[in-house]
């Protein structure tokens, strides 16, 4: 599904701010894989998602999705098949436009809508959007003509999740998408994520700072340090693993403690 081969990225090369964010990283995801990524501050977790989404081009190596090389594909073209959520719940929606209009934009990623730029939101689309909004259980289906700027952070993040998956993506990238929400809302958005990803069998890569979440959610846990993946556990090994065990493995692999000022060891 996703094949990342030996990618590297250095920001601000040749300056005092030079920073190697990814160094010779390789990663393969199988269809339906749900992998969570944890790691120290500056380990390159967000950079990895940025490289996959196309926020920048990597210095070397290649990225292929579903057999197609996308190393040099611009980000807006990759977004046809890659959905992405950021930590900041405001980044995924247009505040002055209505819920309905935001959904209509997200729906642009579907094949039939891309062909006609002058098509308008039809009644059929509205019914489809309302049906999808109902699944969020936030009553947003009754507020479709209200500007998104009026919604709370949690509602906006849930809406962004819906928008990213309205047209089922081949790959969903989640960058600590619940970290800025209050615990109750975070739990709700996470539950929605779990359901939507499972129902549509979406291949998913999630950065989290919650160790427990990293072990519980999905089928694979990756740990990053210094721009590379230092630990990759799945299957039975993962099923029997505790947070302590994970930390021990990290120490053994890298020679130092996991250091993340936001890291949650439990809930």
């Amino acid at each position: 599904m996703l094949r990342i081969e030996h990618i590297s990225k250095t920001f601000n090369p040749g300056t005092v701010n030079e920073k190697t964010a990814l160094s010779d990283l390789s990663l393969h995801l199988k269809p339906g894989d749900f992998a969570s990524i944890i790691g120290s501050n500056g380990a390159g977790k967000s950079t990895l998602l940025g490289a996959i989404a196309g926020s920048f081009t990597v210095d070397s190596g290649s990225i292929a999705l579903d057999g197609r090389d996308i190393t040099f594909t611009p980000d807006h073209r990759r977004s046809v098949v890659i959905g992405r959520l950021f930590q900041d719940p405001l980044r995924g929606t247009a505040p002055s436009m209505t819920i309905e209009e935001n959904l209509a934009l997200a729906y642009l990623r579907s094949a039939q809508e891309r062909t006609n730029p002058f098509s308008r939101i039809r009644r059929r689309d509205k019914e489809f959007f309302a049906e999808k909004l109902k699944l969020l259980g936030m009553g947003l289906e009754d507020r479709m003509r209200q500007p998104v700027g009026l919604l709370s952070g949690g509602q906006r993040q849930a809406l962004t999740l819906l928008m990213a998956t309205l047209v089922t993506p081949k790959l969903l990238l989640l960058d600590e998408h619940t970290a800025a929400l209050d615990p109750g809302t975070a739990e709700k958005v996470l539950e929605l994520t779990r359901t939507i990803v499972a129902d549509n069998r979406i291949t998913c890569l999630m950065v989290t700072h919650n160790m427990k979440q990293a072990l519980e959610l999905g089928s694979r846990t990756l740990m990053m340090a210094d721009g590379n993946i230092v630990l990759d556990v799945s299957g039975e090994e993962r099923a029997g693993m505790t947070v302590d065990g994970l930390l021990r493995r990290f120490r053994a692999g890298t020679g130092h403690e996991l250091d993340n000022d936001r890291m949650l060891l439990s809930d």
Partner: protein, 302 residues
């Protein structure tokens, strides 16, 4: 008196197209497009030259196309070549000065003596009686406004609106913001060109300097309109620019006829109105801060 009202209405509708263009570029795309001054003159120059050559109707779409080209150049500079948006407009505007002279046959002004214009054609057809000029001006502006309103409801229109709101989100909806900015600026400058085209044929003359300060006047109309009509959706915004432009022309006529302030000062007054209106939020929060500080009964330490 009636004459004054009639003229104010006519000019109000003609210049409303500039305010509509700024509604699109400044309000929706969040780009201060300084191409406006130049593309207004370009529209007028193309329109007058083609009218003089006997094609007053063809002159209108031609002027719009010329305006769209100017908008394309500005958009290309800022989206593909990394020129800061304001500078991109200034550069295009400077270049347009020469292009405008060219469009007028290398003269700094041009006039229509006996050539038919869209206005005289309408009068000859006997439509509108005494009010034919107002009828045509209002008709063109209303039609442009309606088309713009319809366009902004399409999916391309929605992505243009989202571009001014959240470019990240546009990208993640598989749309290239460089493309939406380009379409938006082409469209805005086509509207400005249309305004120039109508004004040029109405006044039967074009001058290289007739566009000076048009962008600030357009912003004044936009702000006056939003004050009168209120801000809200797209439809309300389009009505607001028309109302604002008409109100501005009434103020202009009042100043011209009563000489409350010398007419030479009107541009300064316009500039002040625009500066104050745009500064209003900053002024308001500054006043609030001072009020709180005084209420707390102390002056800021150090």
């Amino acid at each position: 008196m009636l004459q004054i009202v009639q003229t104010a209405l006519e000019l109000g509708f003609q210049y409303a197209l500039v305010a509509m263009a700024l509604f699109l570029s400044y309000r929706i795309l969040d780009i201060a497009d300084l191409t406006t001054d130049g593309s207004f003159v370009l529209g007028a120059a193309v329109s007058v030259t083609l009218t003089a050559a006997g094609h007053p109707i063809l002159a209108i779409p031609a002027a719009m196309a010329a305006g769209a080209c100017a908008g394309f150049v500005t958009a290309f500079l800022q989206t593909r070549l990394g020129v800061p948006p304001i500078l991109a407009g200034i550069i295009t505007n400077t270049g347009l000065y020469t292009v405008n002279l060219m469009a007028m046959g290398w003269k700094s002004n041009a006039s229509l003596l006996r050539a038919d214009t869209v206005f005289t054609l309408l009068r000859a057809a006997g439509v509108g009686g005494e009010w034919y000029e107002l009828l045509l001006s209002a008709g063109i502006t209303a039609a442009a406004g309606a088309l713009l309103w319809l366009f902004l409801g399409t999916r391309l229109g929605l992505s243009i609106r989202a571009t001014g709101d959240n470019r990240d989100m546009v990208r993640s909806s598989s749309v290239n913001p460089a493309f939406t900015v380009t379409v938006g600026l082409c469209l805005a400058n086509a509207l400005t060109g249309l305004s120039g085209a109508v004004v040029g044929q109405y006044q039967k003359t074009v001058d290289t300097n007739m566009g000076a300060g048009i962008v600030v006047i357009g912003l004044a109309c936009l702000i006056i309109g939003e004050t009168v009509v209120g801000r809200g959706g797209i439809g309300r915004g389009i009505l607001a620019v028309m109302a604002g432009s008409v109100v501005y022309r009434f103020i202009y006529a009042a100043v011209l006829n009563t000489r409350i302030v010398p007419i030479e000062c009107l541009k300064l007054v316009t500039a002040l109105v625009v500066a104050l209106a745009i500064a209003a939020p900053a002024i308001k929060s500054g006043v609030m801060f001072q009020k709180r500080r005084l209420a707390a009964g102390r002056r800021g330490a150090c």
